[in-house]
Subunit: 165 residues, 3 copies
């Protein structure tokens, strides 16, 4: 079963994901974040401290392999988050289409409770920067694909999980 | 009957509009997009290929005239989109108030199923650029007016149409 | 009872707050806006003209004192808005944590109907400017805290108040 949690910055997405995973026993956490600078290092450390009882898998690119490797082994896993994952693909100049397809394929074979965190990033003025525009488009497309494969979708608003699917 | 579909970039607004119009026979498509550059040309071409069975009316400015001209002639029409339309008014330095009023007036006389697509653009940090701020304000005001005249309003989130009116 | 109204720019937040306060008698309005320039001066004046029958309290920083001073004296008060309030704390280089805590504490003691207006600002691309990023984070955190203390939370979309709590 796949659950997608989407929303704006600091809307409570990760906390909500942790809450949804509370009553499971064998738990995994797929962290896509790579610390490029001090600011991110702090964010990542803070997040780590917030989760107890999880086996953590840090993977910026080959996320689909982790998703597949957890089959039969875990009851629940949190993938946090698609936003950073797509950013990594851009940063390391990877083939977006290839990796997106691989990720989507892996989702179709998931047999545990996978909770995926992503962001809404296209509700502002269109960015002047072409790369940012591309990124916004691609995250929107990815979110749509993942949402269509998800059993539950929550939109987070000010810490409130609004069930929209 | 008027239906408004709003949401962020790549949230599935246009696809949802096409889906809502599926079971009608006599269909029109009011395209407000003007290709200023290659990027937009590609977007417009892609959109055109996605719709079959529509009579297309391309109009960047005098949209209200098209809306009125479809009365008695079509079962359903999609207006895609208010975002681009307002952008056109800015680009061609038209009187925003005049054209907004004309558009709103034309909506009051619609006797077919008009499906209007727009964007949410004011959910980010306030733009530094004054023109962008004005645009965000004016699109918000226009969306409110159109929503108040609409029978149905959907908020698109990751491809999911959330009915909010 | 606390009601939080959140949403994007020009989504109808303030009008909705005024509507919710309609049927009360002793009304207060806590205005956090300070006119830094002509543009803001006009916005503030426009807002003032829209509300009749309110005692207005203008306070950019010590908002928690106003909130507390209204206990036992008013049936309803509108606090408009957290967005500007947090901006003031940045502008006057105040201790964000201190004032946020004071505000939250004052909310716990409210015994009238307090309607709080705020903004969603984290649904766009992450701002390049570090201060803006911090602001987005802090407003998100503040909104979550206030929402968790609120009895009712509305998300405004194109003038429509969507009840999410």
């Amino acid at each position: 079963m796949i659950t997608l949690i989407t929303g704006g910055v600091k809307s409570g997405k990760s906390s909500f994901a942790l809450k949804l995973s509370e009553n499971f026993k064998k738990k995994a956490f797929i962290a896509t974040g790579v610390a490029f600078d001090e600011e991110m290092k702090k964010r990542i450390e803070k997040h780590k401290q917030e989760r107890i009882g999880f086996d953590t898998f840090e993977e910026p690119i080959e996320v689909y392999k982790i998703i597949e490797s957890l089959n039969q082994k875990y009851e629940v896993a949190i993938l946090d988050c698609l936003t950073t994952y797509l950013g990594n693909l851009y940063y390391y100049e990877k083939d977006i289409e290839y990796y997106t397809k691989k990720l989507i394929d892996s989702l179709k074979r998931v047999n545990y409770n996978l909770i995926i965190v992503t962001n809404e990033v296209g509700w502002g003025i269109i960015p002047e920067n072409k790369l940012s525009r591309k990124y916004v488009d691609n995250l929107g497309l990815l979110n749509k694909k993942v949402a269509s494969l998800s059993d539950n979708v929550y939109l987070m608003v000010s810490g409130i999980g609004v069930k929209i699917k």
